[in-house]
């Protein structure tokens, strides 16, 4: 995949693939919404803009207001931003650490591999959510970024494992041998020979990590261990439940955040399968 012609070819197939297109457009749609939203709607997410709270959707408040008279739409769009941030940072770190561990373990093999692999398996069995939970529980000031960091640093193992396997299969290929014989540094080999040849794999890994991070963040937020200094989709759900949105039937408070997460993550997953078809000609539909 390292030569341009091929890359174009994949781009070409990617844009022909319905799943990829659908997923991509969903992401873009929400991304735009998240960044245009604050421009068209100037209410601050936490401000108590409407004296009589819990009003349904209206021309003034598109998604209605919370029990305290906060603007749900404003919370929603700001929440979207937080969501994408978590996905980007959390998913990014998850992928990067996974790559680092996977490449080194897979390429070096031997003792290094043994250790890294053991580590991977350990972190893999530990229910990372539980770890996140107690960390968050005791870490009293939390921001979206810190949350993402923790998510990223607990989400890497399966990526590492997958990448390790791929690297294994690649390191014995003759073009790698060639570079090795030509005395190239391991790092350089990884960067120039191995990584490009599993670009597809890395892209897909990142997408999955992205979606995973979003879900974990939402879950943490929901039990009140999310960011303490801003709004997020998960927090919206938490507040709505805490403040009787179900019982009072203020559905506009708890439907949008969950729906958005579902659509975004669903889109990502669909896109992933689409890319899979793109990168594996065997699976391509014609």
């Amino acid at each position: 995949m390292n030569n341009p012609k091929k890359t174009n070819e994949f781009l070409y197939f990617a844009l022909k693939n319905k799943k990829v297109l659908l997923g991509l457009s969903i992401i873009l749609l929400f991304l735009i919404l998240g960044f245009i939203g604050p421009q068209v709607n100037h209410n601050k997410p936490m401000d108590y803009v409407d004296p009589l709270g819990a009003q349904g959707p209206s021309a003034q408040y598109w998604f209605g207001t919370t029990f305290f008279g906060q603007d749900v739409f404003s919370q929603f769009v700001h929440g979207l931003q937080a969501t994408f941030l978590v996905g980007l940072i959390g998913g990014g770190i998850g992928t990067l650490v996974g790559m680092l561990v996977g490449f080194v373990a897979g390429y070096r093999g031997g003792m290094v591999d043994e250790i890294l692999n053991a580590l991977t398996n350990i972190v893999l069995v530990i229910p990372t959510f539980a770890v996140l939970l107690i960390i968050a529980a005791y870490l009293h000031v939390r921001s979206v970024v810190t949350e993402s960091l923790f998510i990223g640093f607990t989400a890497w193992p399966w990526a590492a494992r997958a990448i390790r396997a791929q690297t294994f299969s690649l390191r014995t290929r003759d073009f790698v041998d060639l570079s090795r014989m030509s005395g190239m540094k391991s790092l350089k080999i990884i960067v120039t020979d191995i990584a490009p040849n599993m670009m597809s794999y890395l892209v897909m890994t990142f997408i999955l990590q992205f979606g995973g991070a979003i879900l974990i963040a939402a879950t943490l937020d929901f039990i009140g261990l999310g960011p303490t200094n801003t709004i997020s989709l998960g927090l919206m759900m938490q507040y709505s439940v805490l403040w009787g949105a179900l019982q009072l039937g203020t559905w506009w408070w708890f439907i949008p955040p969950g729906l958005a997460i579902t659509i975004i993550v669903g889109g990502l997953y669909g896109m992933n399968v689409g890319l899979d078809e793109v990168f594996n000609p065997k699976l391509r539909e014609l």
Binding site: Y48, F68, V141, G244
Partner: protein, 613 residues
């Protein structure tokens, strides 16, 4: 492979469900023997039920019914926020999840009626100071424990003695600082308390808070038992008996042999199921579905429900609720500019309490009087002082006062310290306490409107708590001023003394701003030493306190948190005749820990079943 999977799945499902059933059963299996107390004969098969798996033994028995008849059961909520963990009346702090152990099972010498401000008879028929240092209590006749033993003066003496002999008991202060020197039984129904220089106000408070325990069952308990013992299967003298407990409920059964039936009448519900709701919204939902008969949760939405006739509250319109405690703004008096009374006074004028009442509480609360005393104690307020020195929301006035006090406005439109340095204050409350979060938002914005740069922050509860106790906060909300018989508890909490000598030491009892003014301390002590019967004396003492308080403004009382109570409107209701402002003899309809003595039990006695069996 298919078949195997089917079998596995089937097996596991069955197994796990049974497990659950047993596990659930196990939760009563432990305390179940309690039921042996009322009816040893029938209890045996009942307690065996959970143990043996045969459905046959599950047949309801007189002692432990497995299905409570709805029309004899009252569902209450709002007291318990966790599974019951102790039935030991000496562990007041941990009883909140077992609300009723004091009041339903164990009884106090007196009750207290916040609406009249008077102590009411309970185990004691009457009590009086025979002289400045001697208090005589006369017990009711025919008092009995639920195991049939008589309750006598010796039990009272035994109970109060625990404070002398056990450091871990919470009322050791009776002996160490309140001046109690001796308690003795004159005869079976007379107890005599002897003091030197008593704190009358606090002792009066103790009289309806300390639960009397049976000497014949407690005399062998060690200090450790008193401090950590769970006292499972409690045997008390009260109107209800322990029946069962679960992770989300406590179940009490009426004691039909209760000594008080002749004196006070029979509580209407045969069973009380005290439900622990995971959050207020669950209570709201259950209330709407008629699955709760009395909710003591804070339900912000309830105002509209009452207006639309779905639910009822004590008042038919705002504030809907009786008052339970005073929410006030605590200030760190050791930092600039909060060390300047003039600044604090201006801040008091700057805070927009009306908006807090409207947005954060949907009109479920009332603003507080500057003196901070609950309406129940308003008779002691010095209205003159409050008029002359008091405050009310007025941005303009606040600005004037700041200017007058010499605070210049900086380029950013906010006032600066007198040395020209910027002022940036932070008002906090624990994250997740949403009504308070909304409130501090209003405090911040209204203060800014008056030119005081205040921002709101919501640290985690632990941090907030540490900051509060270690005096590292700036501005924060507090409400450790419970409803009691005396202004003394309120002011003792606000101006608690002596302050810790080491400034780093934690202060857990109150006076979090560490207001250090001997004149105030003396005034509070003076109030404490006025006899509860001496209303005039109390008024003078309170007046002295309020003068200093409103001059110095060490704290800013803001609003009264409500004694949250709501019940379904009659259409769906199982129980009726709840107390309202219209009732002939209204009571506090509260089931929280410590409120059974202040009207909770009386409320149950006055209830009527809508469809009597």
């Amino acid at each position: 492979m298919k078949k195997q999977l089917y079998v596995i799945v089937a097996l596991v499902m069955a197994a796990s469900m049974v497990l659950t059933a047993c596990g659930a059963a196990a939760t009563t299996a432990a305390p179940a023997p309690a039921t042996q107390a009322p009816a040893p004969a029938t209890a045996a098969p009942a307690t065996a039920a959970p143990a043996t798996a045969a459905p046959a033994t599950a047949a309801p028995t007189a002692a432990v019914p497995t299905n409570l008849p709805r029309n004899e059961t009252i569902f209450v909520s709002g007291a318990a926020w966790g599974p019951a963990s102790t039935w030991n009346p000496f562990q007041i702090g941990n009883l909140s999840n077992t609300s009723g152990i004091i009041g339903l099972v164990y009884e106090t010498l007196f009750g207290f009626d916040p609406l009249s401000g008077q102590l009411t008879p309970w185990l004691a028929k009457s009590g009086a100071w025979t002289n400045a240092t001697t208090y005589d209590v006369t017990l009711q006749d025919g008092l009995t424990w639920s195991d049939g033993q008589p309750l006598t003066a010796d039990d009272v003496v035994f109970t109060y003695m625990q404070g002398k002999t056990n450091p871990a008991v919470y009322f050791t202060g009776l002996w160490t600082t309140e001046g109690l020197t001796d308690v003795k039984a004159v005869d079976a129904t007379h107890v005599e308390f002897t003091f030197t220089n008593p704190i009358y106000q606090e002792f009066t408070n103790n009289l309806y808070n300390i639960a009397i325990v049976p000497q014949h069952l407690w005399k062998d308990k060690t200090a450790d038992d008193l401090a950590n013992g769970t006292n499972a299967n409690p045997v008390g003298s009260g109107a209800y008996l322990y029946l069962a407990t679960g992770p989300d409920r406590n179940v009490w059964q009426r004691n039909d042999k209760w000594w008080g039936i002749q004196t006070f009448g029979t509580p209407a519900p045969k069973y009380i199921v005290d439900i622990r709701t995971s959050s207020n919204n669950v209570a709201l939902g259950m209330l709407l579905k008629g699955e709760l008969d009395l909710s003591n949760n804070f339900l912000p939405g309830v105002a509209s429900l009452v207006d639309n006739g779905y639910a009822q509250t004590y008042f038919p319109k705002a504030p809907y609720m009786l008052a339970a405690n005073t929410a006030y703004l605590a200030m760190n008096l050791s930092m600039k500019p909060l060390d300047d009374p003039a600044f604090r006074k201006a801040l008091a004028f700057a805070i927009d309490v009306p908006t807090i009442v409207k947005t954060a509480y949907a009109n479920l609360v009332n603003p507080s009087t500057p003196g901070g005393l609950l309406p129940a104690l308003s008779q002691y307020d010095d209205t003159a002082v409050q008029k002359s020195l008091g405050y009310s929301f007025n941005t303009a006035t606040a600005k004037k006062m700041l200017a007058a006090a010499g605070y210049k406005t900086g380029a950013d439109g906010f006032v600066m310290n007198k040395d020209g340095s910027k002022i940036a204050l932070q008002v906090t409350c624990p994250n997740g306490w949403t009504d308070w979060m909304a409130s501090i938002a209003v405090i911040a914005s209204s203060a800014q409107a008056a030119g005081i740069n205040v921002t709101a922050a919501t640290p985690a509860q632990g941090d907030w708590n540490t900051a509060l106790q270690s005096d590292t906060f700036q501005l924060t909300l507090q409400n450790n001023t419970p409803l009691t018989n005396t202004p003394w508890t309120t002011y003792n909490a606000l101006f608690y003394h002596p302050l810790p000598t080491d400034p780093k030491a934690l202060e857990v009892n109150g006076n979090f701003g560490r207001y250090n003014n001997q004149a105030m301390f003396d005034a509070v002590d003076a109030l404490g030493r006025v006899q509860s019967s001496d209303t005039a004396g109390m008024k003078t003492a309170v007046s002295a306190i309020q003068k200093i308080m409103l001059t110095d403004m060490p704290v800013i009382p803001l609003w009264y948190n409500g004694a949250w109570a709501q019940w379904p409107a009659s259409a769906t209701a199982v129980w009726t005749n709840f107390p309202t402002a219209a009732s002939s003899a209204p009571t506090y309809p509260i089931t929280w820990n410590g409120y059974w003595q202040t009207g909770g039990l009386l409320t149950l006695i006055n209830l009527k079943a809508v469809t009597p069996k």
